[in-house]
Amino acid sequence: MQEHTEHHIENHEHIDSVQTYLLVFLALAVATVVTTLVAYVDLGAFSVVVALAIAICKMLLVVMFFMHVRYSTTLTKLVLLGGVLWFFILIGMTYTDFGSRTWMGVPGR
């Protein structure tokens, strides 16, 4: 039906079932409830790690299933990874400053 050019065609033969989407939706809803409830548990410094971990799982579900990245070309996956990496460069390299400010005292104080 559709000619295969040298470009890999995205999503063409993959149409997910309603069931798949419903399951993902339910998983996302449950994760939302979980993250809200877990916030009331005292995990100390670990709270933010758990909250972010759950958020990342939710993001992966949306990206893989709703945004069809499961079926996407390598290029799309690279673009996505690139964006996430660059975000971490922004946060991480700025942290080399803010995170190390207290390591050395100010001379004279």
Partner: protein, 224 residues
Amino acid sequence: MHSEEQTLALREQFDTAAQQKDASTLGMWIFLITEVMFFGGMFLAYSIYRAKFPEVFAIASTSLNVKIGAANTLVLICSSFTMVMAVRASQLGKLRDIVWWLVATLILGFTFLAVKAFEWNEKFELHHVPGMANFHLNGVGASMQGPASIFFSLYFAMTGLHALHMVVGVGILTWLIIETKRGKFSAVYMTPVDIAGLYWHFVDIVWIFLFPLLYLIDRHLNIQ
């Protein structure tokens, strides 16, 4: 039913429909990456200040209504479901289904925005709007009102930017509904629905991070 050629809309710089779809999809993904960096700057500011003023941020966060926030998160997740169902309908060429799923997404989008407006209004009533003379956060000393206003500045800036993106999304959905009703799409040509879906899901993902970062800081302390 419209013929495939009429709905194809192949532009002259492209050789095949597949090339056009590939290019459009890649273009949208790159645009989404620019949005990641755009929101990223605000996430950076948020993380620096949260690390600098952890107690103030916790107190300020608990003044937000977590039930409403969680409910709104579910609304948006629901809208992502309806959006992907609209894309699925377009892959199957079912025009009427596309319209219904897009309308459902639109309604959920409006719901989210209405709830947001309600929440913002509540912030005004509680004097939690930074930059206004009557700004005051209870539970935090006078010297820390400044950092408290930074939390709320980030709250308004981040949820505001997000809401602006939702408004644009609502506009795009409206346009898609009109175009679908005019028979512009089919199983062979549904690229605009597909890439609008990508945009909508991205806006959902931003909220997936905003919700815990703004509403769920140290709730276990039960400060308010």
